[in-house]
Symmetry: C2
Subunit: 403 residues, 2 copies
């Protein structure tokens, strides 16, 4: 088998853990597999480097930012390759540039354009183990770029696709994907197998185990993913094509507290007004999550939407800039909300499930502020203070706890 | 003027010092110069990285060693470029690879092959300030290499030569070259101007301010050097062509405690025996310093030579391997020696100076163990315990103290 193994920052945060990872890679190699390893920076290295950079410039040029933070992975690949050579394996570390990972020029949040597989394949042909820096690539002008959040997972999936690997294994600090986050739901069920679509909904709505970009890329190119614990054997979660089920089923529940609601009050009800608002948000590169428009008797609308909390200040700035133009009476926000979502294939087509969700929340005496849905997900915005009891009640209702 | 400025590790060891260096570079730029900056890794970064690597493998592959340690300069160039952009300057950091610094494939002690000046010149043409990682380059196979000791100085000189710069300024933690090391001689004279030849002798025989490789390269290509303090203005030392003087003069005195003597006792006096010994040392890549051969009445020779202390163990191993072949009675060593040298243009042609040196040492009641000389230098090996008083007496004798 040709296997891409990705190890995250917590899995390589100390020399001891790097040696333990090297052992794991060696073992997979000795079992007769061809292995390509993708590694993140050790533990808190990236944060340390960013802090250091901020000490000389709070607002550094993104090209220089990438130059600094990319050293984190450069260190971890060389350490892992060295640990593996101690175990008698021929491992060769490769930076994003050396591995042939081409990106665009958007420093600090570059998009992958292409992975040249020549170098990696020639190392594999020689029986070697390429150890590749995640999270980084090279721009058309030869500058070092980084991919932003979820970059290392995305690198691993892109390499697995480029090599037509049999599987892309994501090693992390949990033994797979769970039906709910244990911070909100006690003893959630472990998921053995889940579809790309469901995993995407989970990643987009609060689950942290895999990054949305990586799962989207895996879905697009049908790269089979496995999530495992980096140091403890045992369970795993497979993400891939899942056979259609007879009955729709709630696979998992996610909670997202990282959002805030922004409301434009009593906006003029004229064609083009909504477009103006959303154009402005796009200019600021702010992604919307949910949107609700409610009409008042005076012919004016309240426009409410949710954004990531990190984008709240920018959003308020943007809205205040166009407030007069759209004749809004006021702009206000609420950051005491949270989003709870249930995820499962085709659940929107199942009235019992939708009813079950709303009914459970109502039974807990909690108001639903906003609702949104996709084919595989239904989300409700509720007060953050109620999120624990609502998540637990939904987990009971949909049998998301371990038996 | 086109100026190459090189800043060493102690000059950039903290964010504050990086900002201070940025100020200095900006000022030189504002005075109308084109500036290219070469930077070492911050303070103890390289040692930290090596320690980290040794925690996973005491004997790492040199390619991986270079991959790790080269991150030190990559961080400092990006920090310095960021500090300069804060001051409104357009600075662009370049790794050795990006700057076009080609080396051979001898990882951890690569030799410079060529500097491609295209990238650097095009940045200068755009009014930008290239900030280039010292100490590192790229091998023909595209791997990151490091140059070993003195690498950053050497990078700076090579770039100055490639760009035909007007001067290469070496910023460090002293304000120039002194006629003696203050650890051995109180209040030594500051040197304003010194020839390449003298500086080479000083660097080769104990002076730490500049690295031998860099000065040799500067001499070969006639690159004018200036040594200055990185943070304190004031004095400087210029290294270049120095007009011939009427009288030979002792310019400086150096002390080297980093040597040891190895003796092969009563070696067979046959043609080819010496060649065998030195071939063996060459195989181990050990550089000899002084060599003395003394004949005994039984037709056998004692062969004694000095090597760097770091090479002592390897040297003893090498000598023990050929001890029987050359029929040496014994191999022994002495690491309680030190070398004191006086340096000056043509001093070997001045019997008074030579006599003055030997006479001064004798007046101190100190034995001379070995003597060696070049056109610009005379060195004596004496007991390490006597080095302080001998250095001081020689400094007095040759007027090397400040008035």
């Amino acid at each position: 088998m040709l296997v891409v193994q990705k190890y995250g920052g917590t899995s390589v945060e100390t020399p001891e853990k790097i040696l333990s990872v090297a052992q794991k890679v060696s073992q997979a190699y000795d079992e007769g597999n061809q292995i390509v390893v993708v590694v993140s920076a050790m533990g808190k290295t990236t944060n340390y480097l960013i802090d250091l950079l901020h000490k000389v410039n709070r607002d550094p040029n993104p090209r220089e930012y990438d130059m600094v933070v990319s050293t984190g992975e450069q260190i971890s690949i060389a350490l892992l390759a060295s640990a593996m050579s101690k175990m008698g394996k021929q491992a060769v570390s490769l930076t994003g540039f050396q591995a042939g990972i081409d990106t665009d020029s958007n420093h600090a949040r570059a998009k992958l354009k292409r992975v040249y597989r020549g170098k990696i394949l020639s190392l594999l042909d020689e029986g070697k183990i390429p150890v590749i820096a995640g999270f980084q690539g090279v721009s058309p002008s030869g500058d070092i770029t980084t991919l932003g959040r979820g970059g290392s997972d995305t690198t691993a999936v892109a390499i697995a696709y480029a090599l037509d690997a049999d599987v892309c294994e994501i090693y992390t600090d949990v033994d797979g994907v769970y039906a709910a986050d244990p911070r909100y739901v006690e003893n959630p069920r472990h998921i053995e197998k889940i579809s790309y679509d469901e995993m995407i909904e989970m990643a987009a709505h609060g689950a942290k185990v895999l990054h949305l970009r990586a799962v989207e890329l895996a879905r697009r190119y049908r790269v089979p993913l496995i999530v495992r614990h980096a140091h403890i054997g045992g369970r795993e979660t497979r993400i891939g094509e899942v056979e259609k089920m007879e009955e729709p089923l709630v696979r998992a529940l996610t909670v997202d507290e990282g959002i805030a609601k922004v409301v434009l009050e009593r906006v003029l009800d004229k064609p083009g007004i909504a477009a103006k608002i959303f154009k402005k948000l796009a200019d600021y590169q702010i992604s919307l999550d949910m949107i609700v428009q409610s009409m008042h008797k005076d012919g004016r609308n309240d426009v409410a939407f949710t954004v990531a909390k990190d984008d709240l200040q920018d959003t308020l700035n943007a809205m205040n800039e166009i407030k007069d133009e759209v004749e809004a009476k006021a702009v206000h926000y609420d950051d005491t909300i949270a989003k709870v979502s249930i995820v499962g294939v085709n659940i929107l087509g199942s009235p019992e499930i939708i009813y079950g969700m709303f009914n459970t929340i109502a039974s807990e005496d909690v108001n639903i502020d906003m609702i949104s849905s996709s084919n595989s997900r239904v989300s409700c915005i509720i007060s953050k203070s109620k999120i624990g009891k609502v998540a637990d009640a939904l987990a009971e209702r949909f049998k998301l706890k371990a038996l």
